[in-house]
Symmetry: C2
Subunit: 134 residues, 2 copies
């Protein structure tokens, strides 16, 4: 049975956080697209452009001495043909952040092309309720 | 002459900041997609899901007493078929923020489906150089 694009996006998003949480740089590298525009915005950082710069940043984060513990909550997918994104709450050492992870379909595989993470004010953190995007 | 998707994305992104800067709620409303998933993450806010909630937030921001003065710098487009995004630096009252604006093609028009804005540490603000995304 063919899975919906939204289901595939959620699986790709989960794979990203699995690689992040397990500090698996090889898996992280495989998740990011090759031959497409690639951008990454870590919380508070300026945007990083291009695959080399982006993967260097992940190497520094995942293989550093203080690799953060991270969990993904409330992922919400949105698909638009050959591209789509997942918005989710990240918990890093308990503090909430909000992230957008954008994927593009390459040879039938949803590959990361953009990660944008930023702080979220704790007092406005959303309750875990069902939501509709339309 | 047909314009490239990247050029169209830059035009749509500029129209978004024009509507923002001129507090033109009607133009802002026209820029956002209808009948597609819509999300918006204002700096520090939790994500807002769905067109009604997103437009309510823009109404509060644009028509409020303290509507911020905003400029967009260094916009970088990335197109993926029927969707694409622009990453840019926003200056609000001089302070730099970083934003991702995601668009989807509807009836030949690039419409906003997601805005994600967040703070950027001033000391790491990028120099205005040419960049490549690949």
């Amino acid at each position: 049975m063919k899975r919906s694009p939204e289901t595939e996006l959620l699986r790709a998003n989960a794979a990203f956080y699995d690689a992040f949480a397990s500090q698996d740089m090889e898996a992280m590298d495989e998740l990011w697209a090759r031959g497409l525009p690639v951008v990454c915005i870590h919380p508070g950082w300026p945007p990083l452009f291009g695959r080399d710069e982006v993967m260097d940043s992940w190497r520094a984060i995942l293989l550093g001495e203080n690799a953060p513990h991270i969990e993904c909550e409330q992922p919400q997918p949105a698909a638009f043909g050959e591209s789509g994104f997942v918005v989710c709450i990240e918990r890093i050492e308990g503090d909430p952040l909000v992230a957008t992870n954008t994927f593009a379909l390459q040879n039938g595989v949803w590959q990361l092309v953009h990660h944008h993470g930023g702080p979220m004010n704790v007092e406005t953190a959303p309750e875990p309720t069902d939501r509709t995007l339309n």
